[in-house]
Structures are given as structure tokens and as C-alpha cells.
């Protein structure tokens, strides 16, 4: 029970994160400065948000490749909108979320109601989004207002904005998973048939999981623009594989039913921290991919082993 609870609540990945961070800080004491913590979190935030979004879909047993396309698209849109100041930033956020939700709704409709396999359907929407992104922004560049580039990557009352955002997302999940929608999402991931017999509207729940995902991808793209002060029509491409790696690392089971958004946030943060750490101890950046790959396999094996132990105990 305890192992499983730890894995489910993201406590495990939290511990892993802290251990790596402690070693990192020991190797490189400057890592503890407010500036570098802020930088670390600014770097992590887009991947954390993307992983949070993907988790909604994976928890219900689905799959969403459109993460790369949606981030590219929204990132490009953010970079062509020339609204300044705080109000401008809010306006852009609104537009970004609208676009993300729209893409999510299309994905959700095609998968939940037209019953097309999620991998194939979201592959198509990803490509379409990438195309639209190219129409909006031909080449990397564009305009990101000073407010976004500085205030959104800065601090409020000494707390980095990125930490605040991540915390808010974790809080949102904390609340959401206790609502009916959240419970039903987890239920259909565990057993879609039993959920249907329990009276859950399975198609509708799946549909909304894609909407949540779209909204979070948009948020990721928005903060990516703020962090890089620029836009790119291919901004999302690196996210395609890393997002799933982060979710896997967080311990969310592919196939659904087990895991959570908070764990994915931490999984993503760990992935980014790991890169910094490997760099700091002098592992050639060439080999970080190798470590990431191995960690993904180990993470899945580990969460599988936990599940195996739990199942075994239930049978006897």
C-alpha cells in the first residue's frame, strides 16, 4: 500500500527530484542562488505544463501526439500578436487558451465521438497544426512584449512566477481530481467498461480530457514564448518525445488509471534538472539522451513493478 500510495501521489518522484537537486547543489553551490533557481524553473515550466496536459489524456487511457503541433501553433500565434503590457499579456493568454482548447476539442471529437484511434488521429492534427503554425510565422522570430519576457519570467515577492504557476497547476489538479469530472476521468482509465456500467459518460469524459490537454499545451507554448522572448513555428517539436518521457518518469501509467498531474509536473522538472546536473558534473551533453532513455525505461519498469506487487497482493 505504502509503495503504491507514494508512487500515486508523486511523492516518489518528489524524493528523486530533491535527491538529484541536493547532489546538484553539492556539486555546484551556485545552483542555490535565487537567480539560478529562477532560471531552472523558467527552463522547466513549459515542459512541466505540456506534461501536465498530456497526463489528462493518458490518465483516461488515451494518447495525444498533438502536443508538438499545438505548442508550435500557439507559440507562433503568441509571437505575432503585438499586445503590450499586462493587459496585453492577459489578452494573449486568452487567445492562446482559446486556440489550445479548440485543437483539443477537435482531437476529442475525432477520438471520442468518431472513435478513431487516438495515436493516428492526433498524428494528423499535429501535422495540421504544424502547417498552420508555418502559415502564421514563417521563420523563428516574431515579437514578445517586454512584459511577458521580463515579468512572466521574473519573481513576485521573491517567488519566481514559474514556481507560482506550477504550484497553481498542482492546486488545480488537487481540486480537479476530487470533482466528479476528475474522479470519472481516473475511473475510465482504470476500467472503461465498469465505468460505463457505473453510469459514467465515457465519450464525454474522454472528450474533455483532450480539452484540458489542449489548454495546458497552449499554456506551455505561452510560457515558452515568454522564456525565449521569441516564437518559432517548430517550437513544439522537442516536446513530442520529452513530454511522454516526463509523464512516464512521473509514474503515470500508460493505458490509464494511475498517476496524476502533479507527478508529471515533477517528472518534467526532474528531466530538466537531470540535464543541468549531468552537464554540471561534466557528462558530455552528447550523452544526456542516453541517460534520459534509460531513465524512461527504468521509470516504466518501476511503475510496472509497483503495479505487479499491488495486483499480486490483491489476488491472494
Amino acid at each position: 500500500m505504502t509503495i503504491k500510495k507514494m508512487a500515486d501521489s508523486g511523492l516518489m518522484i518528489m524524493v528523486i527530484y530533491l535527491i538529484i537537486f541536493a547532489i546538484y547543489a553539492a556539486v555546484q553551490p551556485s545552483a542555490l542562488s535565487a537567480y539560478s533557481i529562477q532560471g531552472l524553473f523558467n527552463n522547466s515550466l513549459p515542459l512541466m505544463l505540456a506534461a501536465a496536459g498530456a497526463t489528462f489524456v493518458i490518465l483516461q487511457g488515451g494518447f495525444d501526439l498533438s502536443v508538438a503541433g499545438t505548442i508550435s501553433l500557439v507559440n507562433s500565434i503568441v509571437a505575432v500578436l503585438q499586445f503590450d503590457g499586462a493587459i496585453g499579456a492577459v489578452g494573449i493568454l486568452g487567445i492562446a487558451l482559446t486556440v489550445g482548447i479548440l485543437v483539443g476539442a477537435i482531437n476529442g471529437f475525432v477520438v471520442a465521438y468518431l472513435k478513431i484511434q487516438a495515436i493516428a488521429a492526433t498524428l494528423a492534427t499535429m501535422i495540421i497544426c504544424q502547417g498552420i503554425a508555418l502559415l502564421i510565422l514563417r521563420a523563428p522570430g516574431g515579437y514578445v512584449s517586454d512584459f511577458m519576457a521580463y515579468e512572466l519570467t521574473g519573481s513576485v515577492l521573491e517567488v519566481p512566477v514559474s514556481i507560482i504557476v506550477a504550484f497553481l497547476v498542482a492546486m488545480l489538479w488537487f481540486v480537479f481530481r476530487r470533482t466528479n469530472a476528475g474522479r470519472n476521468l481516473l475511473a475510465i482509465g482504470q476500467d472503461a467498461k465498469a465505468s460505463e456500467l457505473s453510469g459514467i459518460d465515457v465519450a464525454r469524459t474522454k472528450f474533455f480530457s483532450f480539452i484540458w490537454a489542449g489548454a495546458f499545451y497552449a499554456l506551455a507554448a505561452y510560457f515558452l514564448a515568454a522564456q525565449t522572448s521569441t516564437g518559432s513555428p517548430s517550437a513544439g517539436e522537442p516536446f513530442l518525445l520529452l513530454t511522454f518521457a516526463a509523464v512516464a518518469l512521473g509514474g503515470t501509467a500508460f493505458g490509464g488509471g494511475r498517476g496524476g498531474v502533479t507527478a508529471s509536473l515533477l517528472g518534467a522538472a526532474t528531466l530538466v534538472l537531470m540535464q543541468k546536473f549531468l552537464f554540471s558534473i561534466g557528462v558530455s551533453s552528447f550523452y544526456t539522451g542516453m541517460v534520459q532513455g534509460l531513465i524512461m525505461i527504468l521509470a516504466v519498469l518501476f511503475s510496472g513493478a509497483v503495479q505487479f506487487v499491488v495486483d499480486k497482493r490483491n489476488i491472494t
Binding site: T125, I127, L241, F244
Partner: protein, 337 residues
């Protein structure tokens, strides 16, 4: 022959004329390819000739080869996300070992195929014996292989392919480029392998219904692993050819083939869930995607619209291929009788 009259027989007779839905899909795709190539003459007189056809065939040969492997993995209910890295591996290994000479060419190419097949075996073992989801396993293997390539070459692959390979990519026989002939030979072999050999029959059975395949006495895990091994070897071969074509390897040379390899399989009428698909359909899918992209470029359509159209083609193919729609169409056609 049947001594007992059966209600069952009466029900099935009515379906006797039913056309296989996959056949319809494959024919439609080839029809579209032909239509697009020759129809494009109407838009621009410089297009639609034999030379454009040859060009499309030449360019699609790389995709056709890696899509075969991808198709086998999808057939056994998996997905191979290591295609891009395996192409890079093939390219990097070939230029590194060949170093611009023909020496040892006959050992190097089989050697590369063997190494890559071993990587595929590792992916397959992870999927079958450790129950790691296929896309995680192949994605992780892809990351690892890519990182090894990156570390091994320190960021810039050196060396050149063997001159003989370069010549192979450029020479023509009877006006047909050798890679096209090679592709035709491969299509023949692969089609036989996938659809007319015991191996293909068993893979089809595994993808169709793994539990039933197990009961029928098929070594399900071994078959699945071999699909991953073949896929890895195919991608590496595509990498060798690409490196010869471009006269050198780059680390990102495989990136343009990962998603199209999946798309070609899906557009070609295979089910992404496995168990249904023909290689000829996949070839059609690869030709269609390559034709579309080269035609749109020739017409001066921007990259954006090009990509959007490609996505829409995939989406439409998916919606069209759904079983229900076919049965729906069939019942609509049947009603007048």
C-alpha cells in the same frame, strides 16, 4: 458438400460479393497517385511527365523502405518511434566505416544491418518480455541510439559513403535510376514476405489476435521481436542509402522520416491497432505522401499549406478507413436491391 442445410450459409451468401475493404483503399490510393501526377499537367505544363514520376519514385524509395519495417511493427500492434535514430545510425555507421572507399563494402553493409537488427531485438525484448509500452520502449531506444551517434561523432559525422554507393544512387539502367529498381525489388520481396510467406502469415496472425495466435501454437513473442528487428534494419538501410544520396551523414537526417513512416502505413489502409495491412498499401501511402509533397513544392505552395494538406490527407484517410463507414457504404449500396 455440406450435408446439412444451415441458416448460417444463407446469411453468408448475401455477403459473397463483398469487396475487401483494404483492396478498395489500396486501389483508391494508387488511383489518387496516378491522378495527381498526370493531373498536375493541367496546372503546370512542366509537371506530370515521366521525369516527375521518376523523381517521385526516387524520392519515395527511402520512405518505402523504412515504412516496411514500421508497417510490420504496427501489424503486430506496436509502434516504432526509433525510426529517425536508426536512420541516423545507419548513415553515421556507413560513412564512418566506409571513409569514402569501396574497401570492405560487402562486410560493412551486412554489419550495419546486423547491428541495427540487434538494437531492434532489444526494443522487441523490452516490449514482449518486460511489457514496456512499445512507443516508450522504441522512443527510449531512439533517444539512446541518437545520443550514442551524437557522442560517437562528437556532433559532426565525418567520413563519406563508398564511391560505389554514390555511383549506385546516380546511375541509371534503361533510363531508370538504380535506387528505383532496388525499390521495386524490395517491394517484390517485402510483399512476398509480408503477404505470402509463413513468416508474414504468422505476423498477421499475431497482430490479428495474439491470444488466438498463442493457442494456434505460434511463438508470439519471438514473432513480435523479429518485427522490431526488421524495422530497425530497414531504417538503418534507408540511412545507408540516404547517406549515399546526400554524400554524407548528418545527425538529423532521419527526422523527416519518423512521422511519414507512420503516416504512410496508416494512409495505406493498415489499422494503427494492428492486424490489418498490406505492404502494397503502405507503398501507395508513401507514394501518395511523396507525390503530394513534391507536387505542392513544384507548384510553389508554401511549406505551411503543404503540411496542412498532408495532415488533412491523413485525417481523411483515417475517417474513410473506418470499418463502420465501409459497412455503412456497403449497406447503402445493398439497399436498392
Amino acid at each position: 458438400m455440406n450435408p446439412f442445410y444451415s441458416v448460417t450459409d444463407k446469411q453468408d451468401t448475401r455477403q459473397a460479393q463483398r469487396l475487401n475493404s483494404t483492396t478498395i483503399a489500396v486501389l483508391t490510393i494508387y488511383g489518387l497517385v496516378v491522378l495527381m501526377i498526370f493531373g498536375s499537367r493541367l496546372v503546370s505544363p512542366s509537371l506530370g511527365g515521366i521525369s516527375q514520376l521518376m523523381n517521385v519514385l526516387y524520392l519515395s524509395s527511402f520512405l518505402v523502405i523504412c515504412a516496411f519495417g514500421q508497417g510490420l511493427v504496427i501489424l503486430v500492434r506496436g509502434l516504432d518511434l526509433s525510426v529517425a535514430s536508426m536512420i541516423t545510425l545507419g548513415g553515421v555507421l556507413s560513412t564512418t566505416f566506409m571513409q569514402g572507399t569501396n574497401e570492405g563494402l560487402y562486410f560493412i553493409i551486412p554489419g550495419i544491418l546486423l547491428i541495427s537488427a540487434l538494437v531492434g531485438v532489444i526494443s522487441g525484448l523490452g516490449v514482449t518480455h518486460l511489457s514496456i509500452p512499445p512507443f516508450i520502449m522504441t522512443m527510449a531506444m531512439g533517444l539512446i541510439v541518437y545520443s550514442v551517434c551524437l557522442g560517437f561523432t562528437e556532433g559532426t559525422p565525418r567520413g563519406f559513403p563508398a564511391p560505389m554507393l554514390n555511383a549506385f544512387m546516380q546511375n541509371k539502367v534503361l533510363g531508370v535510376a538504380l535506387p528505383i529498381l532496388l525499390m521495386l525489388v524490395f517491394i517484390l520481396i517485402f510483399t512476398i514476405l509480408q503477404s505470402y510467406s509463413a513468416f508474414g502469415r504468422k505476423l498477421n496472425a499475431v497482430g490479428n489476435n495474439p491470444d488466438a495466435a498463442n493457442i494456434a501454437g505460434i511463438a508470439v513473442k519471438r514473432m513480435t521481436i523479429s518485427a522490431y528487428a526488421i524495422s530497425a534494419a530497414c531504417s538503418a538501410l534507408a540511412g545507408v542509402l540516404l547517406a549515399a544520396y546526400a554524400n554524407g551523414a548528418t545527425l538529423r537526417m532521419g527526422d523527416d522520416y519518423l512521422l511519414p513512416s507512420i503516416a504512410a502505413v496508416v494512409v495505406g489502409g493498415s489499422s494503427i491497432l494492428g492486424g490489418r495491412g498490406s505492404f502494397l498499401g503502405t507503398v501507395g501511402g508513401a507514394l501518395l505522401l511523396t507525390t503530394l509533397s513534391s507536387m505542392l513544392s513544384a507548384l510553389g505552395v508554401g511549406q505551411g499549406w503543404k503540411t496542412i494538406l498532408e495532415g488533412i490527407v491523413i485525417l481523411v484517410a483515417l475517417i474513410m478507413l473506418r470499418e463502420q463507414i465501409f459497412t455503412g457504404l456497403q449497406s447503402m449500396l445493398k439497399k436498392p436491391n
